[in-house]
């Protein structure tokens, strides 16, 4: 089925099954491998991207249900133009193995867009569904707090 999909500002014409999850469209069709497969059942959060600015689990979102522009970790910022969250992630060395971190950052970005000054409890609630097997949660929380401050200040 033909679809028009906008990812990171670029619109693609795609001919793919309607029920193909967005995750695999991104990874295997568009080669945007920053978004990760972890569980396939929206339980771990590694595949989190934005659709219309909202954080969604791309492994469980069918292509036909994508109702707006998609932003992935690659669209949030890159080495030459780091997003405040990415900069905070580097400063706090939030990643260990790093595999879940795209999902962590995208979930955090959606949180800060809604709530520019979240409390620790609000951060915990918002990030609750994004697993990190390395257990780097304390650094992730600290990075989110710092990025929030930087975004409010700048």
């Amino acid at each position: 089925m033909p679809f028009r999909l906008t990812v990171n500002g670029t619109t693609e014409e795609l001919d793919l099954p309607a029920d193909m999850p967005l995750l695999w469209v991104l990874r295997d069709v568009l080669d945007l491998t920053g978004t990760k497969y972890g569980c396939g059942v929206a339980a771990c959060g590694s595949c989190t991207v934005h659709v219309n600015g909202r954080a969604v689990r791309s492994c469980s979102l069918r292509l036909e249900d994508v109702d707006g522009p998609v932003t992935t970790i690659e669209g949030l910022g890159d080495a030459d133009n780091l997003a405040p969250l990415q900069l905070a992630w580097i400063t706090h060395q939030a990643a260990q193995c790093g595999y879940c971190q795209s999902g962590q950052i995208m979930q955090a970005a959606a949180l800060l867009a809604d709530n520019p000054d979240p409390s620790d409890a609000e951060i915990d609630t918002a990030m609750e569904d994004i697993m990190c097997r390395c257990g780097s949660y304390s650094q992730i929380r600290a990075a989110i707090r710092d990025a929030a401050g930087a975004m409010r200040g700048g």
Partner: protein, 746 residues
């Protein structure tokens, strides 16, 4: 892909002294020069760890980065001596090569308690470590990478620096002793600067002089928290894991194998899979199928659609029967008695009715790395190229070569970043499987990805284990401590798989964390019983200590309680005279947490101490009763690593190890029914989240006499500290895990 170009073997005398430089210092007795496996497409290699080309300096870190920060710390060892700006270097894993053997890993395999090694034991350890080279164990495991590299990679940096100075001395007509180095330049007394890039080609022609290592007081990088070399890539989604490899014309494959592990496939109806749009091919394996398709999604769905009947497994079909087999091991003669101080049996008989007896049990556990197993392979008839996130590149290369009938020399392996390892990625199964699929698809690169369910149901599990503990106290001290531990042997299974021999003799790994703890107890006996069981088991972060730490430290708590003593003071009394540095970690954590021995009614505190991987770790955990259940609110860790090379990375590993241990204690359980693992995905195998992970405070000490490992050290104490805290809170002594079977957590 890399700067290395085609990898061949070539002996370069240049650099050999720098790397095997231990000859001069008596570290290695193997006197033949090491083969430098590096043949850069451009530029010059000064030894197996350094390439200098027009773009600058590349440091080869031949240990796998799975989150533990090894690329940063090992690169810093070279950079410190080489005198290059840390921010300017490039770090790569490099090829599979014998030069990169891990001597420290094998040394750790001897049945001696590490905290108390004597001179002759260290001599024996050194000789055995040398065999690591013979066995080509380029393995990232056992928290040994930094210990192994500490001298070797600093010598490599220093040797390279000195040859660059020799080249400059030759060019400038100035004695080498008058030259200095800084940030990638040799500097002459008159201020003339010659860049390493300009000197590298000439330097490669000089023999390496005996380098002196700098005194730690002169260090610029080591001892400081450095910017991790992998962080920007991981924050921008550009770090390449093996599942992110994309090659021209590459196909995607999924696997479905017998969930009854070790059983074969009885029958296959491939038609439903083959009928699906996008499916290219169904490949039959002895124990299942691989489906090659246009996307991973199609391949995974098609694999599920195939009609398959499975044969049964070679082990008992359910958890109950499996644990009966583990229990039966107690009836057989013991495999090892690695501690036998005093006379435990007589002392127990004399204690009569005052003997404390308890049985502890832990379940099987999966690794559940965030990145499920996968590898990418390209078979071109007479050669095979592999991309695999793995902890043992030579073993993986050789297993893949054997799987497709090629010589190891015709196989190239690229070791990518790993989305978690925890021991799982030492196993070669997923790389060999990718090689077989690629062989069937000759000429086409194939990425072979496992679904989460395939990953969780085809693991090499942390074994289930049972401990039978007996003890007695007198005058406020432990008079007897006797432990018997039964489990299937990880050591035997892994050595059988990796080198083809199930190592005979006493199994140290089985009793690690139990026999080697620095407690002075008059009658102290530890014996291991190995269960005959064909459930696949393997290295799982901290291995034997992952269960022995729980058994040992909970029973010590029981003895403290029986003696009517404060559990922390009780431990100190037994440890202080045995190992002062260990006692100091306990005192430190006591002060960090403000431990008083008392807590309010709705608060519980527990302490645990473990010594393992060369590092002493003391932990206190605080739990509180809340409306939703028990909350694990705070954790304090004091660790003595001997020398802290990168405090931020050590702190991160302490936190990570603790959370890994707590996750297992609270949630972790793999069960079997009808021969298959019942858990398929995270909803059945939960892990701690940001919201229920405690606040963690870490203090790093440097009193130990030698360097300790950090990747696994904090895991063993987590479960006992928590269980002891729950005892303080509830009065209940939970002797079986996971704890979520006993109570609700907030």
């Amino acid at each position: 892909m890399s700067r290395l170009g085609r990898i061949t073997r070539r002996t370069l005398l240049v650099g050999s002294v720098a790397v095997a430089g231990g000859v001069a210092f008596g570290i290695w007795q193997t006197r033949r020069p090491v083969e430098n496996p590096l043949v850069p497409a451009e530029g010059v290699t000064l030894n197996p760890y350094v390439i200098i080309d027009r773009a600058g300096t590349t440091i080869i870190v031949p240990r796998a980065e799975m989150g533990q920060g090894v690329h940063t710390t090992l690169a810093a060892l070279v950079a410190e001596e080489l005198d290059v700006a840390f921010e300017s270097i490039r770090v790569i894993h490099g090829p599979a090569a014998d030069a990169y053997y891990n001597a420290a890993l094998l040394r750790g395999g001897l049945p001696f308690a590490e905290y108390a090694q004597t001179g002759w034991q260290q001599t024996v350890s050194g000789a055995v470590g040398k065999a690591g080279r013979v066995l080509a164990l380029q393995v990232t495991a056992g928290s040994t990478s930094t210990i192994d590299a500490y001298e070797r990679m600093r010598l490599a940096g220093a040797g390279a620096r000195e040859t660059l100075k020799m080249a400059a001395a030759d060019r400038l007509g100035v004695p080498r002793a008058e030259l200095d180095t800084d940030d990638g330049n040799v500097i002459a007394p008159d201020g003339t600067e010659l860049s390493y890039r300009a000197l590298a080609a000439e330097a490669a022609d000089f023999p390496v002089p005996e380098p002196n290592l700098r005194d730690p007081s002169e260090w610029r990088y080591l001892g400081r928290s450095l910017p991790r070399t992998d962080m920007q890539a991981k924050a921008t989604g550009t770090a390449t894991y093996s599942c992110d490899v994309r090659l021209p014309g590459m196909k995607f494959a999924a696997v479905r194998r017998n969930p009854r592990l070790g059983g074969a496939m009885r029958s296959l109806d491939a038609a439903p899979a083959e009928a699906m749009a996008g499916v290219e091919r169904v490949i039959e394996l002895e124990d299942g199928i691989a489906v090659v398709a246009d996307t991973t999604w199609t391949a995974m769905r098609a694999a599920e659609a195939a009609g398959i009947e499975w044969e049964s497994a070679p082990y008992p079909p359910d958890t109950g029967a499996i644990f009966e087999a583990i229990e039966a091991a107690f009836e057989a003669p013991y495999n090892a008695r690695l501690r036998d101080d005093g006379d435990a049996e007589t002392a127990l008989a004399e204690a009569g009715g005052d003997v404390l007896e308890a049985e502890y049990r832990v379940p099987f556990l999966a690794h559940a790395t965030m990145e499920p197993m996968n590898a990418t392979a390209h078979h071109t008839g007479d050669a095979l190229e592999l991309w695999s996130g793995n902890q043992a590149p030579i073993l993986h290369r050789d297993a893949a070569a054997a799987a497709v009938g090629l010589d190891a020399g015709d196989v190239t392996i690229h070791t990518t970043f790993m989305g978690g390892g925890f021991g799982r990625r030492t196993e070669t199964d997923f790389t060999a499987l990718a090689a077989r699929v690629a062989q069937a698809m000759e000429g086409t690169p194939v990425q072979v990805a496992w679904s989460r369910a395939e990953d969780m149901r085809h693991d090499f599990y942390r074994p289930g284990a049972i401990a039978r503990m007996r003890g007695a106290v007198a005058d406020g001290r432990a008079e007897v401590f006797k432990a018997e531990v039964a489990a299937p042997s990880v050591t035997r299974q892994t050595s059988q798989r990796f080198v083809g021999i199930a190592t005979p003799g006493p199994d140290k790994g089985h009793l690690e964390g139990m026999f080697d703890q620095p407690y002075g107890i008059a009658n102290y006996a530890v014996t291991g019983h190995l269960a005959e069981l064909d459930v696949p088991v393997g290295f799982w972060r901290s291995v034997g200590a992952s269960f022995n730490g729980f058994f040992h430290e909970c029973f010590i708590d029981e003895l403290a309680h029986a003696a009517g003593r404060d559990p922390l003071a009780f431990r100190l009394d037994h440890i202080r005279d045995e190992h002062a540095a260990s006692a100091h970690t306990l005192e430190t954590v006591r002060d960090m947490a403000g431990w008083t021995g008392g807590t309010p009614d709705d608060v519980g505190r527990g302490v645990a101490f473990t010594f393992g991987f060369g590092t002493a770790v003391a932990q206190i955990i605080e739990v509180v009763r809340e409306d939703g259940g028990v909350r694990i609110r705070d954790a304090w860790i004091a660790c003595d690593v001997g020398r802290a090379l990168d405090p931020a990375i050590i702190r991160a590993q302490m936190e990570s190890g603790l959370v890994f241990g707590l996750t297992a204690a609270v949630h972790g359980e793999i069960t079997f029914a009808d021969g298959a693992v019942e858990q398929r995905n995270f909803p059945d195998y939960d892990i701690l989240r940001m919201s229920n992970t405690p606040r963690i405070t870490v203090e790093i000490l440097e009193n130990r006499e030698s360097l300790g490992g950090v990747g696994e050290a904090a895991t063993p104490a987590a479960a006992p500290a928590l269980v002891n805290a729950l005892f303080d809170l509830t009065g209940e002594r939970y002797r079986t895990l996971p704890l979520s079977r006993h109570l609700r957590f907030a």
